[in-house]
């Protein structure tokens, strides 16, 4: 690989530049002991090393992008390429095989047509490798000489190196913006393509979900792309069943641990609860599918509900609720801790019992924070994937019966993108539209929740 060679060259030359510049700076210090250097010798070294490394790295990136195209061009120009099929899959396969053979040196080829192309490939790869290394050496020489000549006793190398450091720091923090932008752009781009085939109204308000990845992509049936059942399944599992489990257990745990528990007991129980949050979701999913779902079905059959499905919204929701408990409890813990102790003490001094104080003073005072925490928990639950993938089932049902299989947005994203469908098919693209909806909803929930929590915190300060 040329790019790895180039990287090694870059680092080698940069190191050489660093050593040379540092040695030269030391020699200044010895020769002109009357005058002090404007920067320590190490900084001179770094200055030269950066001047060599940065352009070389930029060139390496650029070269790794354009080199394959140049090689391909040169191979296609060779006489052996005349016999290739005009275009399409077969041509690509032949070219790829010839290239692999040229790189690995392994000449046992599957496709005889590729054989004559190996030699042009070897030539082209060698030619462009030499060109690449030559250009890199030239860049290093020019940049290195230029920067090395600037190494003088009164040259302020440090400020220049530090300016580069600041740029690197700024770039690192821009990665977050870039990622957000990348997420948004990729989701929107694919969603727009999807909405070109299926109208947003059919998608957002239709009540039947049943995309067929094998159907003709040019003529999709918009009535099969109604996402309402998915939204309902997501809300039912993540925001209703899971919260019925998580809110009482989480809130009561937080109250017990902050108001009643002995500090030594709390020191053990709180981390134990937090372990629940650290268990990977695939483990919860397995637990839900293997243990909880059959148990729920057996229980339902035992009480006479014969229609109970082995994949149920209840199993997924309950296990998801368990997963969310530590999250709710730590958010509630924080907002209870933020209630001024004067309010609690005042209530107790008036003769209220501890539970009355908690129910009538502390919880109402902490309520905005608790509500914010619950909203964050909901946003986490509706974005959760593995539990529903493993336990909730694939059937898009618009029902309130928790014993039936139900499907969610995240389940369908996984199902649509891990299938065999092509990337231009509306069934595949619908996953991105679902992803966009999920992204926007969780973002809105988080945003509002954080505002609520923040607003509430300020009230007592």
């Amino acid at each position: 690989m040329t790019s790895i060679t180039l990287l090694l060259i870059a680092f080698g030359l940069a190191l050489a530049g660093w050593l040379a510049a540092r040695a030269r700076a030391w020699s200044f210090q010895r020769e002109t002991d009357a005058r002090r250097l404007a920067a320590r010798p190490n900084y001179h070294g770094w200055y030269v090393a950066l001047w060599i490394a940065v352009p070389l790295l930029a060139f390496t990136v650029l070269w790794s992008l354009i080199e394959p195209a140049l090689i391909l061009q040169s191979v296609l120009a060779s006489p052996a390429a005349q016999s290739l099929p005009a275009f399409g899959f077969e041509r690509d396969a032949i070219l790829a095989e010839a290239k692999a053979a040229a790189i690995s040196g392994n000449l046992s080829l599957f496709n005889p047509a590729a054989e004559s192309l190996v030699a042009p490939y070897v030539q082209a790869i060698q030619k462009y490798r030499l060109i690449g290394i030559g250009v890199a050496a030239a860049i290093a020489l020019v940049a290195g000489t230029f920067s090395f000549l600037r190494v003088k006793p009164d040259f302020t190398a440090r400020t220049r190196v530090e300016r580069t450091v600041m740029i690197v720091l700024l770039l690192a923090s821009l990665v977050a913006i870039l990622t957000t932008f990348g997420i948004f752009a990729s989701l929107v781009f694919e969603t727009v393509r999807f909405f070109g085939m299926v109208s947003p109204i059919d998608f957002l308000f239709g009540t039947f979900w049943g995309p067929d990845p094998m159907s003709n992509p040019d003529n999709p049936d918009p009535t099969r792309y109604g996402a309402i059942p998915l939204f309902w399944g997501t809300i039912y599992i993540g925001a209703i069943i899971a919260m019925i489990v998580a809110i009482p257990l989480g809130l009561m745990s937080a109250i017990y641990l902050t108001q009643y528990a002995d500090p030594r007991v709390r020191a053990w129980l709180k981390p134990a609860l937090e372990i629940l949050a650290g268990v990977p979701t695939v483990v919860y999913g397995y637990f839900a599918a293997l243990t909880v779902a059959p148990a729920i079905r057996d229980a339902a059959v035992a009480v006479g509900i014969s229609s109970a499905s082995s994949e149920s919204a209840l199993a997924a929701g309950v296990v998801m609720g368990v997963m969310i408990i530590p999250f709710v409890s730590s958010m509630a813990d924080d907002s209870i801790a933020a209630v001024p102790s004067a309010m609690r003490d005042g209530s107790l001094a008036l003769g209220a019992t501890t539970s009355e104080t908690i129910r009538r003073v502390i919880v109402p005072a902490a309520l905005p924070g608790i509500v914010g925490g619950v909203m964050l928990a909901i946003s986490r639950a509706i974005g959760e994937t593995m539990i529903v993938v493993m336990a909730a089932g694939a059937a898009a049902n618009l029902t309130a019966n928790p014993l039936e299989a139900m499907t969610t947005v995240t389940f369908q994203i996984v199902a649509m993108l891990t299938g065999e469908g092509s990337f231009d098919h509306p069934a595949t693209l619908s996953a991105f539209a679902l992803g966009l909806v999920l992204f926007l909803v969780t973002l809105a929930l988080n945003f509002v929740a954080l505002r609520v929590v923040k607003r509430f915190r300020e009230a007592y300060e």
């Binding site: 720091l169 957000t180 891990t418 988080n446």
Partner: protein
């Protein structure tokens, strides 16, 4: 009881019967409330214990496999070789050419009888070959090998398979020829189609390679971004935008990162589908905000006097941060990094999106070869119909949880060790 009597102070009676009853009700409700709180905690902990116990109970069987005792008399079999010919690379092929598979099948029939010999896995000769390559001395005499049984016989041993297999397994077990033994190969093999042959090493290696990529990308970027935002960033709209997007990214569902990886990274590098490189890049974007947020808290905790002291003796702002603040904040940053990495290690959904769910039967060679990771392996095995996979899946879960426990333990140790009061 003289409730109606007015006491000496002349006040209205308080200790009336009604008062006492009310008080008792209030105390009872107090007790109930406290009990409800306690049971909420206990239910949560009980679920955790049940979950872990369930996995351990199921999983311990996953570290074992059913093995049949087969005695092979090598001098009589005509197989030859020594340390020089039975090398790592050529040994397996040399033994195959000499007819080792047939020899193993023949002696299986000799040792076990025709009916039971069919219970020896077809690939069992590879186990024999591996042992011969390790120790060519075995060829000098006869030796008893424990060879993997077929899936049918293995489930018969667990009283799950067909009736005749159960009978056969019971008979062989009574004769001492069939037993469940600890299977060290489970930690050394990769994915396979039969539960008797699968191993976890392929997925574990994939996880390790993926984590290396994640760490190499997320740690420097996260730390540098945290330094910039905490130490240098001016208060303006751009900084706010960076802050908001970092906080948002920390709350974005993980599957969305998978969609990003699919749309952007696989578009940029279409040849590296299901490679640890792409998986690591995707997880790095997810882990980076966690590192930035914990890093900022750690940097904030370094007292300003350290910075002022360094500035006062002439250090530049960059020197202050890299020589003084960063070393002091590093333990805190590391703790946050380990926690973020633990989360990334257990993450499944984004990796499904970028195609790491492929069947990969050999451990990955490097960052660009197809691989799978532990949680995805668990997901894939959980889909298998064969009952033998249930135990294997739980065993893989035990290994994953052990790794997570180890990482979290390390994070807690670091936090306690470097906890400072300034």
């Amino acid at each position: 009881m003289s409730d109606a009597v007015i006491n000496e102070t002349g006040m209205a009676p308080t200790r009336t019967e009604a008062f006492r009853k009310r008080l008792e009700r209030r105390y009872a409700s107090e007790r109930r409330f406290k009990l409800a709180g306690l049971s909420a905690v206990l239910i949560s902990v009980a679920v955790l214990i049940f979950l872990l116990g369930n996995m351990t109970y199921n999983g311990l069987g996953g570290f074992q496999r059913a093995e049949l005792e087969v005695t092979i008399d090598f001098p009589a079999s005509g197989i030859s070789g020594d340390a020089s010919t039975l090398t790592e690379e050529g040994g397996l092929q040399a033994l195959q050419i000499q007819g080792l598979p047939d020899v193993v099948a023949f002696y299986a029939e000799q040792s076990l009888g025709a009916e039971a010999a069919a219970g020896v896995s077809d690939e069992a000769w590879r186990d024999v070959a591996a042992q011969l390559i390790d120790n060519p001395q075995l060829l000098q005499g006869s030796h008893t090998f424990s060879l993997p049984a077929t899936d049918n016989l293995a489930s018969g041993l667990k009283n799950e398979g067909s009736a005749e297999m159960q009978a056969l397994a019971d008979r062989l077990e009574a004769e001492g020829k069939l037993s469940s033994n600890f299977d060290p190969g489970f930690l050394a093999r990769a994915d396979a189609t039969s539960p008797q042959k699968v191993g976890i090493w392929g997925a574990l290696k994939g996880s390790i390679l993926t984590m290396i990529v994640t760490l190499l990308l997320a740690f420097p970027i996260g730390v540098l971004a945290a330094l910039y935002l905490e130490e240098y960033a001016p208060k303006n709209r751009w900084t706010d935008l960076i802050e908001v997007s970092i906080n948002n990214l920390a709350a974005v569902p993980s599957i969305i990162f998978g969609l990003l990886g699919l749309a952007v990274f696989l578009w940029m590098f279409p040849n590296f589908r299901s490679a640890p490189l792409i998986g690591g890049m995707t997880l790095a974007l997810m882990t980076m905000p966690v590192i930035v947020i914990s890093g900022r808290n750690a940097i904030k905790a370094v007292p300003p006097s350290i910075r002022d002291g360094a500035l006062a003796i002439g250090a530049s702002p960059v020197q202050v941060v890299f020589h003084h603040v960063l070393p002091l904040a590093l333990p805190g940053i590391l703790t946050g990094t380990i926690i973020g990495m633990a989360r990334a290690l257990g993450e499944t959904a984004p990796l499904l999106m970028i195609g790491m769910r492929a069947f990969v039967a050999s451990p990955p060679d490097g960052f660009t070869s197809p691989a799978t990771v532990l949680p995805v392996q668990i997901f894939l095995w959980s889909d298998e119909i064969d009952r033998g996979f249930v135990e294997r899946t739980s065993a893989a879960i035990i290994i994953l949880l052990l790794f997570l426990l180890l990482m979290n333990g390390l994070a807690i140790y670091l936090r306690n060790k470097f906890e400072k009061k300034w």
